[in-house]
């Protein structure tokens, strides 16, 4: 519901809002230019009488003097049949520059407020401001949900770049956009007369009929400082019934041209002051710095529109296409999908197709449509549940837990599969909630809770085999979430290790295909990458890619990965059989969370086996000699110390501050976590100095490292989880 309130107004109004934001940002510059150009008023307490007299000396035919909120004084006169106008130097009363507003500014202003369509356009732009307001409010709630609550609303962002950009810019600019859209709506209401106006000038009173009093003899002009002036209009020449019209910050009225006395006056009303303040806040006239800030914030709108549309399109592409969905009452398998952005639905579609092909009758529905009373023939219910942000239920699962607990119908066996991202604190938290609630209210579980990390096709395929075994049908799930186009990479060299310790491992180096500019611009060909990003390799005979951490950056001119042979591993086998000149198909997947953060803080690199790959890449790229300390575990120093020569060289030239190794097939039988414990004092000091920890390797090693660090950090009152929450503990685990 909330998401729709954000998505549809955003998509519908995107173009309009981009036009309004860009024109508004451009307009915000003019008040700043004006206030820079306006000469500072040198004389303290200069009176309107003195200023007007100076101007009249230079321009005897002066008719009107205006003061802009920027402080610029403009005089209008009429002499020998021609009108004239100029911005005035207050010390001399003479004109210094032309008075007419720039054509560009006027064009922009008419575009901004009415799209050159007069009143129709004003309604359209007001609708745009209303949409902006709605988007700001719904967006704030969505950001709070995404980051896990209002208190964490400024937390570090995770996920794909467009989404992060969208939220980051929103967090910076939402205050300005709220102010601009609210004041815009007020100004439109004021233009159409829905807001009370001030009293305006008082009625013209009878005057003395005499003329010729000097300006210096008019008390109201003598007592009004120029800083309070808005407008002074001189009486029509030779018309004794006319009077001086004075408008100041306090009000407006008439001055007799014979006696010099104030003959009528209206104070500025409360509504008028409100209107003036709102005008100032919206236009920046009289508050040019605020105007510039609002203008800068408005520049975020085009980026948010672009990323917003991108996210919507990406979500649509990922939307499943279901064929042959069976009615709820006829199905033997009920497939419930709890998805926030729609990506989990793609997995559901794959599962539905595979089950249907295996002869099952499947009904697919969102989790919020859960209605167990209708599932008359169901033998099992499969719940595919994503988790939103830090543990919130996804959009299409509203009310599911309540309905799970309610009712007296038969408890059909459940299978729960959680979808999530391990880099979030609450990985698959909602799926856990579902399992807990189901167990509590007596639903039998066919399988224990399983999870799919970051849309991993491998995780899903593995779960599919287990599920198929329970159901009694062979189930080969091949789901590929929006696979990027792959390119052929040719092997240029390989270095082999580990044969002696029965762990054949190789560092494989591939040439980069040339990427012409047009391919850059169209986003095709092999994307740019840095060490720590992933190379997705498509093995022969399987459409499912395997991911390897890159040990080089595009800058290095090659793509390097470390591969060890898994028993029966399809992809690792093919890779290790490559000889220079052979090619594989591959693509890049960003892994932006796993790399040294910017800055000079120390970096602790911990890895074992092929996990050395990205860590070696970080060291290779460390030309700035930032303190990087490596702890590395291998089997034997003589056999599988990957990058052994480079490690020594990098230590000599300062790319690595220290290298500590642990070997498991020697007399000491040490693992990398043992090496950490030996160095616990040094590590504790590095962490105290703000070090970032990057761990790469197998799951068991990562768990051992986390245990060791938990002990090492305990005296400081820190845990790996706390470092993770601060973005100081990155893991690349396989």
């Amino acid at each position: 519901m909330l998401r729709s309130l954000h998505r549809w107004p955003g998509l519908i109004a995107a173009l309009l809002l981009v036009v309004l934001a860009l024109s508004g940002a451009a307009l915000s510059v003019f008040p700043a230019i004006e206030s820079v150009r306006t000469p500072a008023q040198a004389e303290e307490g200069l009176s309107v009488a003195t200023l007007a007299a100076r101007i009249r000396t230079v321009y005897p035919g002066v008719e009107q003097i205006r003061r802009a909120p920027s402080g610029a004084i403009t005089a209008y006169w009429f002499e020998s049949g021609t009108p004239g106008a100029a911005v005035i130097d207050t010390t001399t009363g003479a004109g210094v520059s032309g008075a007419d507003a720039s054509v560009v500014e006027r064009w922009l202003k008419n575009l901004h407020r009415s799209l050159f369509l007069d009143d129709t356009g004003r309604f359209v732009t007001a609708a745009g401001a209303g949409a902006m307001l709605l988007l700001s409010f719904s967006g704030m709630v969505l950001v709070a949900r995404r980051t896990g609550g209002w208190r964490r609303v400024l937390a570090r962002l995770k996920g794909p770049l467009p989404g992060r950009l969208h939220v980051q810019i929103a967090r910076i600019s939402v205050a300005g956009l709220l102010l601009s859209s609210l004041t815009a709506l007020w100004m439109t209401a004021s233009t159409f007369g829905f807001v009370p106006e001030g009293a305006g000038p008082p009625p013209m009173p009878a005057v003395s009929g005499q003329t010729g009093v000097p300006l210096s003899d008019m008390p109201a002009l003598r007592d009004t400082p120029v800083s309070a002036l808005r407008d002074l209009t001189f009486p029509t020449p030779d018309d004794p019934t006319d009077a001086y019209t004075l408008k100041t910050a306090a009000g407006e009225g008439y001055l007799d041209q014979g006696t010099g006395q104030l003959v009528a006056w209206n104070d500025t009303g409360g509504w008028e002051k409100v209107n003036e303040t709102i005008y100032m806040l919206h236009t920046g006239r009289g508050a040019s710095v605020l105007g510039l800030i609002l203008g800068l914030m408005a520049l975020g709108v085009p980026v948010m529109a672009g990323t917003g549309v991108w996210m919507w399109l990406a979500g649509r592409r990922g939307r499943p296409r279901l064929r042959g969905n069976v009615a709820a009452g006829q199905a033997d398998t009920i497939l419930l999908v709890g998805s926030e952005s729609g990506s989990t639905g793609g997995f559901a579609a794959t599962l539905q197709a595979a089950l249907t092909a295996a002869g099952q009758r499947v009904h697919v529905a969102p989790m919020q449509a859960f209605a167990p009373a209708r599932y008359g023939r169901a033998k099992r219910i499969v719940v595919l549940a994503a988790t939103y942000g830090d543990g919130a239920p996804p959009a299409s699962a509203r009310g599911f837990l309540d309905r799970l607990a309610a009712g007296s119908h038969d408890r059909i066996p459940l299978v729960v599969l959680g979808f999530g991202d391990r880099s979030f604190r609450a990985f698959c938290a909602y799926a856990h909630d579902v399992v807990t609630a189901a167990t509590a209210s007596g639903w039998p579980l066919l399988l224990p809770l399983d999870t799919v990390d970051r849309q991993s096709p491998q995780d899903f395929a593995r779960w599919g085999r287990e599920f198929g075994a329970v159901v009694g049908v062979p189930l080969e799930l091949n789901h590929q979430p929006a696979m990027p186009a792959s390119v052929a990479l040719t092997l240029i060299s390989r270095r082999d290790y580990g044969a002696e310790v029965q762990a054949p491992t190789a560092i494989l180096r591939f040439a980069l295909p040339r990427r012409p500019l047009w391919r850059h611009l169209t986003g095709r060909g092999l994307a740019g990458f840095a060490a720590g990003d992933l190379l997705g390799v498509l093995p022969e005979g399987s459409p499912i890619p395997r991911f390897y951490s890159l040990a080089s950056a595009r800058r290095d001119g090659f793509a390097e990965i470390c591969v060890s042979r898994y028993p029966g591993g399809l992809c690792s086998g093919q890779l290790l059989d490559l000889t220079p000149g052979d090619a594989v198909r591959a693509f890049i997947r960003r892994n932006a969370d796993f790399r040294p953060k910017r800055g000079r803080a120390p970096v602790i690199l911990i890895g074992a086996g092929t996990g050395i790959g990205p860590l070696a890449g970080f060291a290779r790229a460390n030309a700035a000699h930032r303190p990087m300390h490596l702890w590395f575990g291998a089997r034997h120093a003589d056999s599988d110390l990957l990058y052994g020569d480079e490690l020594a060289a990098w230590q000599t030239d300062g790319r690595l501050a220290s290298v500590s190794t642990a070997f498991s097939r020697t007399a000491k039988r040490a693992y990398v976590q043992d090496a950490l414990r030996l160095d616990s004092a040094r590590i504790a000091q590095l962490i105290a100095d703000g070090a970032q920890v990057l761990v790469c390797g197998g799951r068991d090693m990562a768990a051992g490292v986390a245990d060791a660090l938990t002990d090492i950090l305990a005296p400081q009152g820190l845990t790996p989880a706390m470092l993770k929450a601060r973005g100081r503990y990155g893991e690349d685990v396989y």
């Binding site: 008719e63 009107q64 209008y76 009429f78 009108p83 106008a85 007419d100 507003a101 054509v103 006027r106 008419n110 004021s190 233009t191 007369g193 106006e197 305006g200 000038p201 009625p203 013209m204 209009t233 029509t236 018309d239 019934t241 019209t245």
Partner: protein, 156 residues
């Protein structure tokens, strides 16, 4: 071309039996290329001494801007009933405004003066931009304005 019975608007100011006799008069106001947003114009009649009699036409629909038509506003206090039914759109730079009204014969050759006040957003107020005596002989003669109006003429 707009045809209106403005005689009624004037009748409150000019209580004369001759008002029954009226003729269509076409008022043509041609604007300069003054290069601003469309201008507001107030067309109104005073007697020879400058006392306000009534309004003929108001070009511009938003009452909050009428105070910039300073002379007209001073004379009427911005009273909307003065221009009820005789209000049209503001007139763009370089454009012209043509209004045809049934004007009382008694207005001509009797010392009455037709005035136009003009103003445009963020530009000067130009009260009394035009002041032409209403005479039968003066019909068809163009009068230049001061800032906004290139020429004004009335034709019978």
């Amino acid at each position: 071309m707009k045809t209106l019975l403005a005689a009624l608007a004037l009748s409150t100011a000019l209580v004369m039996p001759e008002l029954a006799l009226a003729r269509p008069v076409t008022l043509t106001t041609t604007m300069n290329a003054y290069g601003g947003n469309p201008a507001y114009l107030a067309l109104y009649v005073t007697d020879a001494q400058g006392a306000y009699l009534g309004s003929l036409w108001m070009a511009g629909g938003r009452s909050q801007y009428y105070q910039h038509l300073s002379d007209w506003y001073q004379a009427t206090g911005g009273n909307p009933s003065e221009i009820n039914g005789i209000t049209g759109a503001s007139v763009g730079s370089g454009r012209s405004l043509t209004v045809t009204l049934d004007l009382a014969d008694a207005l001509f050759d009797a010392g009455y003066v037709l005035h136009i006040d003009a103003a445009s957003e963020e530009m000067r107020n130009s009260p009394n931009e035009i002041a032409v005596p209403l005479t039968t002989a003066g019909a068809g003669q163009a009068t230049p304005g001061r800032r906004y109006i290139a020429a004004f003429a009335y034709a019978m």
